[in-house]
Symmetry: C2
Subunit: 218 residues, 2 copies
């Protein structure tokens, strides 16, 4: 695994000690994140929209309606950016200036390609479902031909990718350490509440894959 | 409060029933979000980076080092996009196709301006600190002249702004309702764990503003 950036554009320049270039850590962040933010340019204006994503090996997949601006723009091969961020906590320092956040964030740069192969498209749809709740795919009705027709799948290779990670306590200036101010971390995590069955649901027991997923988010 | 988009560019086109144009709801999302994603273009490539932000009245503030690419790019008046997303849950449908997420997301488009007025700059730094933990500012050492010198503050007016919100149970096709598949919502929320005092901290009791903040995240 290279511990150096794969391109000049993804080299972390600010706070380089927070840079991560190892694919193992990058993949773990992409896989834990439920939402990513996709950046693209339309008529000179950058847009940033939240999207569900899924990683399979060296590719991040996105999907959307054929009619969406994001899909239409990315399908032309226009440059894009996909960023997935996990917020791990708030960092409270003694000085206002050193307040910060603990986070893990991955950015992928490049150009996506429209996936045309039907098998790869179906694999990607499986991956989106599994990214939400592992084990989900085998329980649900698979996409119909009509549904597949209205959906576009985009693939972005993990060629230009880097992560930035901050963790740990605040870093105050030495002369502030004696101040009478509580300093430390407030950990944050995305946690699951009580599952809410669809009101149209007949009484079906909460299945094991949903129960197991919830256990990882508590 | 206008219930119509303030510009063609921020009109929600996909799933327009999820559009929100009321400033009250938009402000609430921006204020609850701890992190936003800022999009900008450098040398034809869109970048999306996670940033802390703060809203004051009709402005979203960002800040960063004078040397950061984001600051340097936005300071030129280049078009940008600021998106804040709150993930409220995962939506499990009976069909793979209707899986979704519940979320609240705001996008602001426009050009930021570099704030030069020292009073406004200090007010913005106060707002960043307060955005992390309300009440924090009065407890910490305020920024020094030197710290202010190395920090740039950018202001983006909430002129072109819209939100998109999904909530509630899955929407399955009628013919799938009888399938023997558990369907419903898995609620998610960013929740606070046990505060971790800085190891360099002398024993200082957890102050009330931190305790109160934690109570809002449990």
């Amino acid at each position: 695994m290279p511990a150096t950036p794969t391109s000049r554009r993804v080299r972390v320049r600010r706070a380089p000690q927070r840079a991560v270039y190892e694919r193992e850590q990058i993949d773990a962040i992409l896989d834990e994140a439920i939402v990513c933010h996709v950046g693209f340019v339309d008529d000179g204006q950058p847009y940033v929209i939240p999207m569900l994503h899924a990683r399979v090996a060296d590719v991040v997949y996105l999907h959307g309606s054929t009619a969406s601006r994001m899909v239409r723009t990315l399908a032309t091969g226009a440059p894009c950016s996909v960023t997935a961020t996990l917020l791990d906590g708030i960092v409270l320092a003694r000085s206002a200036f050193h307040h910060s956040a603990n986070y893990r964030s991955v950015t992928v740069l490049g150009s996506a390609t429209l996936v045309r192969d039907e098998d790869e498209r179906m694999s990607a749809l499986r991956a989106f479902t599994q990214q939400l709740v592992p084990g989900r795919w085998e329980h649900v009705r698979p996409p119909s031909r009509q549904e597949m027709k209205g959906t576009q799948v985009l693939a972005l290779a993990l060629d230009e990718v880097s992560a930035k990670v901050r963790s740990g306590p605040p870093v105050d200036d030495d002369e502030d350490l004696a101040l009478d101010v509580w300093a430390g971390e407030l950990p944050l995590a995305l946690q699951a509440g009580e599952p809410r069955p669809d009101p149209q649901q007949d009484a079906i027991t909460l299945p094991e894959h949903v129960r197991a997923w919830r256990a990882t988010r508590r």
